[in-house]
């Protein structure tokens, strides 16, 4: 099936992935309804198309996004690919100068004014970075299991991230971490991903429950206890995955849990004491056993697992120490607020409580379109941007919000499928970049509204009000669809 460039424009429509576009359309429509609900005033009475209102403006953003999408589909994907580096470098320059031009919006220096429009370059830099990373990986045949290649790739991703942190938009910057999921697909050792996730989990769990006692009248802290248990379980998991012998892993698991159970029982019903002492004992025992195993089986992997466990314990206690002893109180506060740990009534904690009340009040079927009282009376801050999922939960209930989540899951799985079927490395890598970015946004945004992840202010794709983010996601998605439409072309 060879095609000449002239016949391309026709075949684009035929080979377009209409399933993804259907999902895109469905999400856009539900998103717009939510913006209507979130920004609706009781007596505004149906003027959703009035450009003075948020819902009216969102129509403008949706319209312009569709125009953008058509323009992208009409462009030759090879042209887009060849401009990848230029686009990336252009965005680095824009990101660099943004803080100097920006006007301060609630402490963030990420918005610049173009005419009467306020634009957030950080939302667009994502597709630039995705293009550039894909192009570099494809052109130089980089493999993420080679250290040098991995470093090159990481630098490309971290550069815009640092620039965005300088704009005091930590949330948008963290999105770039999603590129590591793509790198995992292309060979980054799973242990790196696993270690990074483990570190984040230790940190968040450890800090969040640092001062919470396991129950009344015990010196045991819930955070410390949980993290030590997690290290124990992770180590057992690693033994099961990376070594051939099953028995030792089960032994470590069984003896460790038994000791913990005894300790918990004693603490609860007999003599209250700090369970962490017992857990340290379990750790020490596990280390010695791993050392013994590595000598007996002459297998270094046991030693690595021991290192992992020691490193994890060290990381947990030093992170704790740095947070509570080394950092100034106001810096501590900032981290705690960023993690959503501080119950500052008008800050993060307030938002999460209000969000939970709003969602909880939705019930099974919701209160119906425009009938949400929680979001309507402006109890939920940022209700049409970062906390838009509240409106979905309140007005559409469990049925509606679960549907939205399933649609997102479908989109993400479809993107994996689309990425995997690309004949060229550029398209494959780009596809995974897009998918990872969407996954990260949904993971953090919905998780934050549900009180499961830290409060990090990033938009929910296609739902949150705002031109910059909607345009950004549309460009990101439609470049992939354009590349995908030419997948039949063999030579590039």
């Amino acid at each position: 099936m060879s095609q000449t460039p002239t016949s391309n424009s026709k075949s684009v429509w035929r080979s377009l992935d209409w399933f993804t576009i259907l999902l895109y359309g469905a999400l856009l429509a539900m998103g717009w309804m939510s913006v209507c609900g979130a920004s609706y005033d009781f007596d505004q009475a149906g003027n959703f198309f009035d450009f003075g209102t948020r819902s009216g403006m969102q129509i403008v953003w949706i319209g312009t996004s569709l125009v953008l999408a058509s323009v992208i589909l009409a462009t030759d994907d090879r042209l887009i690919e060849s401009f990848s580096y230029l686009i990336y470098i252009g965005f680095l320059v824009v990101l660099f100068i943004t803080p100097f031009l920006a006007h301060d919006i609630k402490g963030s220096l990420s918005w610049i004014k173009v005419g009467s429009l306020s634009i957030q370059p950080a939302e667009f830099a994502k597709f630039g970075t995705a293009l550039c990373v894909s192009k570099v990986i494809a052109a130089f045949d980089l493999r993420m299991d080679r250290f040098r290649d991995f470093v090159v790739c990481s630098v490309l991703v971290l550069a815009p991230m640092v620039l965005i942190v300088l704009q005091k938009e930590t949330g948008s910057a963290l999105v770039y971490l999603s590129f590591f999921l793509m790198m995992y697909r292309y060979g980054m050792p799973g242990s790196i991903l696993f270690t990074a996730v483990a570190a984040v989990v230790y940190f968040v769990v450890g800090i969040r429950y640092a001062d919470v006692p396991l129950w009344e009248d015990t010196p045991t802290r819930l955070g410390e206890c949980c993290v030590l248990l997690l290290i124990h379980l992770f180590s057992v998991g690693l033994m099961l995955v990376y070594t051939a012998l099953r028995m030792p892993a089960f032994k470590v698991l069984a003896y460790g849990l038994l000791a913990l159970l005894l300790a918990v029982g004693t603490d609860r019903y007999a003599l209250p004491f700090d369970i962490a002492y017992v857990q340290w004992g379990v750790m020490a025992g596990m280390m010695l056993y791993l050392l013994y195993l590595s000598l007996r089986e002459r297998l270094l992997r046991y030693l690595y697992i021991a290192f992992f466990a020691i490193g994890s314990v060290g990381f947990f206690y030093s992170a704790n120490h740095v947070l509570t002893e080394v950092l100034e109180p106001h810096q501590q506060m900032r981290i705690r607020v960023l993690l959503g740990l501080e119950d500052d009534p008008r800050g993060a904690g307030y938002n999460v409580i209000q969000a939970k009340i709003a969602i909880g009040s939705g019930g099974l079927e919701g209160k119906g379109f425009l009938n949400g009282t929680q979001t309507k009376l402006k109890y939920v801050p940022e209700q049409d941007t970062d906390f838009i999922f509240c409106t979905v939960g309140e007005e559409e209930g469990f049925i509606g919000s679960a549907t939205v989540l399933l649609l997102f899951l479908l989109l993400i799985l479809r993107l994996i499928h689309v990425a995997e079927r690309q004949p060229h490395a550029f398209g494959r890598v780009y596809g995974y970049c897009v998918m990872s970015i969407f996954l990260f946004h949904v993971f953090i945004n919905v998780g934050m509204v549900l009180g499961l992840t830290p409060v990090i202010g990033i938009p929910l794709p296609f739902f949150s009000y705002g031109g910059s983010s909607l345009w950004g996601f549309t460009i990101l998605l439609f470049i992939l669809l354009r590349i995908d439409a030419s997948r039949g072309r063999l030579s590039r």
Partner: protein, 627 residues
Amino acid sequence: MKEASQKHYQLQKRKYVIGGIATIIILVYIARLFFLQLMSEDFKQNADSNAFLKRVQFPARGTIVDRNGKLLVYNQPAYDIMVVMAEQAGIDTADICRTLGITPAQYERRMTEIKDRRRNPGYSPYTQQLFMNQLSADEISSFQEKMFLFPGFYVQKRTIRQYQYPYAAHVLGDVGEVGPEDLENDDYYRRGDYIGTQGVERSYEKVLRGVKGTEIMLRDARGRIKGHYQNGKFDQPPVPGRNLTLSLDVELQALGERLMTGKKGSIVAIEPATGEVLCMVSSPTYDPRMTVGRQRGKNHLLLSRDPDKPLLNRAIMGQYPPGSTFKTSQALTFLQEHVITPSTAYPCSHGFHFRGLTVGCHGHGSPLPLVPAIGTSCNGYFCWGLYNMFGNRKKYPTVSDAMTRWKDYMVSMGFGYKLGIDLPGEKRGLIPNAEFYNNAYRGSWNALTVISISIGQGEVNLTPLQIANLGATIANRGYYVVPHVVKDIQGEQLDTLYTRKHRTMVDRVHYETVVQGMRRAVLDGTCRRANTPMYEVCGKTGTAQNPHGQDHSVFMGFAPMEHPQIAICVYVENGLWGATYGVPIGALMMEQYINGKLSPESEEQAKIYSGKYLITPIHYVANPNIQ
């Protein structure tokens, strides 16, 4: 090759891992939704109650006491009447008007105002709108008895400020409704909230305001309140504001305001060692109680229309020529730059005469060295000093270099820039620099052109606070702490800005010489009236020439000479000689602070001076009927 393809196959499998991660995340979220929406205990409760009512609870604002713990500002309850338009129907308008003491026309006008979106952008018929504000407990009680007759009307309890004394209005400032700018910049505020607008109420707003609380109430379909949501689990009690201790001494402040009756000007007193402001008088002044209650708007209009500008805090916003008080700073500069030594003597025959330029002076011995020159406030001496400094081409290649050097000294003494006092609206005064004169004279100027800056005239302008701070710096022999009016903040350290010592560019030994000069002025110079056997006073008068009218009377001094407790600046606009008003008022203030009271003779003096009027005194007091 085989290994590579196996590797490829291995990686191929990772798509399932990634897909699995995404699926698990979404499933966990759906499970969470399930628990939040379908399993939580209040799900059934919510079935019959379809709305929440969030009530804001306003915290009590922090109180303010003076340096001796005397209560200055506290809170008193006040009541706002709120109305929900959609709920008010079938009300007997005549009855409600009678109960509230308003006319039906006023009632209708207020209702129209509320519904007018241009004037009330936050309007919604479903939320509470302000109908009448700041009613007293007496006024509200009859309304509350009949409230069941007026559906849609609510009473919101607030606290408003109340003042123990009629003094220090400029320092205390006031509290008013939050404006559009603060609404924009700070998420904390909602329309109709109160915010400090002037004085320490403004600069310590975040300390004083506390944190608002919220109550989440359940409401049924007819709007009746059924109780706290989940028994108040999500309620947040308000956190009261924290208290402030001012450095002001209210007795001293009271005397200062009394002495300045019928005069325009300012008195600033500072404790030299700490930079604490002991009193800050700006005259004419007004009773701070005028800024609370429903008369607030009317009173504000009255005050802002007075041509004598009682709202202006002259102590930090008035920029005046310092006159001869400035000579002390010149003596210090000349000594440090080796232009003069304490024994250098300059001639003065009724002034400074040179190349046709004359700066007049009064009769005294000639030639004379520095200490008597300060004592008699000799103009000629300081003109010669500046001329010799600016003319020294060996030390300063150009006159601009000399000017820049001179300016650096002035800036190190706290002039030319805001000192950074913890009050809003401070002005910086003016210390000219070389560029200033280059622009003014197109580059053609020399020491003679600018000679009048040496005697505190010409372009130089200082605020009374800066003059008092000069006194404090001399009292400290070479350093100052940035003056501040707040001594203690409950539960918080004072900013290090207000504890750090700023050294000037002049050595301590030169300060001793100037202190001798200021002592001489009190013993047998221009400030003789400030002399007292009780303690050793040092002082310097100023008679600032005023092209628009009568000269200004200035006094800067401190006491006692060793271990000074108070440094002071008195500035009386159009008060003629420094000795006419500045010296006697300064002397009385120092006596009050150091002795804690005035002697009977001094009390007589105070009566005389408080009765001398330069302008028609208007006593701005709050209307007692509404208190």
